[in-house]
Amino acid sequence: MSENGKPKFAMYWAASCGGCEIAVLNINEKILDVDANFDVAFWPVAMDAKYKDVEAMDDKSITLTLFNGGIRNDENEHLAKLLRQKSQILVAFGSCATEGCIPGLANFSSMDSLFDAVYASVSTENPDDIQPQYTYEVPEGVLNIPVFYPVLKTLDQVVDVDYYIPGCPPESHQIAAVVGVVLAALRGEVELPPKGSIIGAGHSTVCDECPRQRDVKKIKKFVRIHQAEDINPEICLLEQGILCNGPATRDGCYARCPQVNAACIGCYGPAPGVVDYGARMMTAIASVIDSRDPEEIERILDGIPDPAGSFYRFNLAHSLLHAAKPAWKDGYTSAPAVDPGIRKN
C-alpha cells in the first residue's frame, strides 16, 4: 500500500513496440478506475521513474505489475527479476511477454546476421562501420549498454509468472474486464483465478468466434491474400485457399481480422490444449489439403512460401524448438525457467 492507501500498480516494457501501452490507454474511461483505485508506482512510458526507485521499494509492495515485451537483453532480464521481487501479481501482458511475438522472430537468425541487418545492410548508412560496444570509455567514466542475448526469451523463461494476457496487443475490452476482476478481488468480492491462468481471452479458437460460413475444407491451391482475385466475404478464408491461423489460435479477439477479409495471423497464441502452436497449424493445414499425390501436395505447399514464419509468427520463442539452429550457435547464456508447455485455460 502506498501513502494514500491505494494498492500500487506498475507497467513495464521490455522488447516490445509500445502497442500494449496504447491498448491499456484504449480502455477509455476505465483508465480512470485504474487511477482511482491504484497508485501508479512505476510506468516508464507514462511517468518519470528511475530503476533505483523500484530497487528501493519493499518486496511485494507492488500489487499488480503488467509486464509487456520479451527478454532481449540483460536490462530486460534485470527488470523482470526486479519486478518479480517487488510484485504480488506479475502478469505477462501481451504476446511478446507470453510467447515472444514479432521480436521473437529474431530467433530464426544468428546474432551476427541480426547485427549485419541493422548496422551493415544496404538500408543502413554506416560508412565507418560503427558497431555498438557494450562498454565504452569516455572522459567522465565508463559507459555500459545492455548486453544483447543471442536468443529472445519469454517472461516465464526467466521468472515465475502469475497470469498471462495474450494478444498483440490485448484487446481493450479484455483488459478492461481483467482490471474489473482484479479490482473486485481487491474488494474481496471475487477470487482471483488459479495461478498460471491465461486471462482476458477465450477458451476456444478464433474459428469459433468467426462469423464466416464454414463447410468442408478441400484445398487445391494456397494464395496469398494480396494475390486473391476475389474474396467472398461470407465464406471461411481457409476454404478460399488463404492461409488463416484461426484453427490453432485462441479466441477472445472477436475474430477481428477475418471479419475484415484479413486472415488470422495468430496473435492470441495457442488455443487451449495446444503445446506447440506451429505443430497445431501444420496438423490443421495438412488435413485440409485435397491431394494424395506427393508431387501435387508439394506443389500445393509451394503456395505457403514461409511455413515456419507463418506458423510461428507470434510463438517461436515459446515453441518446443525455441529458436532455429543459427541462433543457438552463438551460444545460449541461461536456461529457460520452464519447459514450453500447456498453460491453464
Binding site: 516465464d156 498460471g196 494424395r292 515456419a308 519447459d339 508447455g341
Partner: protein, 168 residues
C-alpha cells in the same frame, strides 16, 4: 579412439501395420539396431507434429514415422494426412536449421518385418554419418525440469528429458 556415435531415433509405429512389422522382425529374429525406440500409435494419422518436435528438442537425433501403405489404412485414409503433415513438417524443420533427413517417413505393412528392419538400419547409418543433432535447448530443459515440476503450472507433465547416461 573415440567411441562410435550411437544416434537416438524415436520411431512412431502404427498399431495395424508397422508395429506388427517390428514384432514380426522380432519373431523372425531379423536384427535391427537398438538405436530406435519405438512408440506405438493407433494410426500414423495420430502423429501430431508436436511429437516429432518434442523428440528432436529433447535429445533425439532423428525421428522415423511409419504407417500403412497408401490405400491400406485401417482408418481408410488417415495415412494420407500423415503424408501431408510429413511433407509440411520437413519444410518447417529445414527452416529451423535441422537437416530434413532427420525426419523420415516409411510405409511398412504387417508382413514387412524385413523391410522395416532394413529401413531402420539405413536411417541409423545415415544419422551416424550426419552426427548428433544435440538440440541446444535440451540441456536447458534438463536443468530446469525439476523446477518446472515443482509447482510451476506450465511444465507439469510435459517434459521428461532423456538423461545423459541413456545416450552414452
Amino acid at each position: 579412439m573415440a567411441e562410435q556415435f550411437e544416434p537416438i531415433i524415436i520411431g512412431f509405429t502404427c498399431n495395424w501395420c508397422s508395429y506388427r512389422a517390428a514384432d514380426l522382425a522380432g519373431t523372425a529374429r531379423v536384427k535391427y539396431p537398438p538405436n530406435i525406440r519405438l512408440i506405438r500409435l493407433m494410426c500414423s494419422g495420430r502423429l501430431d507434429p508436436t511429437f516429432v518436435l518434442k523428440a528432436l528438442a529433447e535429445g533425439a537425433d532423428a525421428v522415423m514415422i511409419t504407417g500403412c501403405h497408401p490405400g491400406e489404412c485401417h482408418y481408410i485414409e488417415q495415412n494420407y494426412k500423415t503424408l501431408r503433415r510429413y511433407l509440411l513438417l520437413r519444410r518447417v524443420v529445414a527452416q529451423m536449421g535441422i537437416e530434413p533427413e532427420r525426419v523420415k517417413l516409411v510405409w511398412a505393412s504387417a508382413a514387412e518385418g524385413v523391410k522395416l528392419a532394413k529401413e531402420i538400419e539405413i536411417l541409423v547409418e545415415e544419422i551416424r554419418a550426419m552426427g548428433p543433432l544435440n538440440w541446444p535447448g535440451r540441456m536447458a530443459h534438463a536443468q530446469t525440469a525439476a523446477g518446472a515440476m515443482a509447482g510451476h503450472t506450465n511444465g507439469a507433465g510435459i517434459s521428461q528429458p532423456i538423461p545423459e547416461e541413456v545416450r552414452a
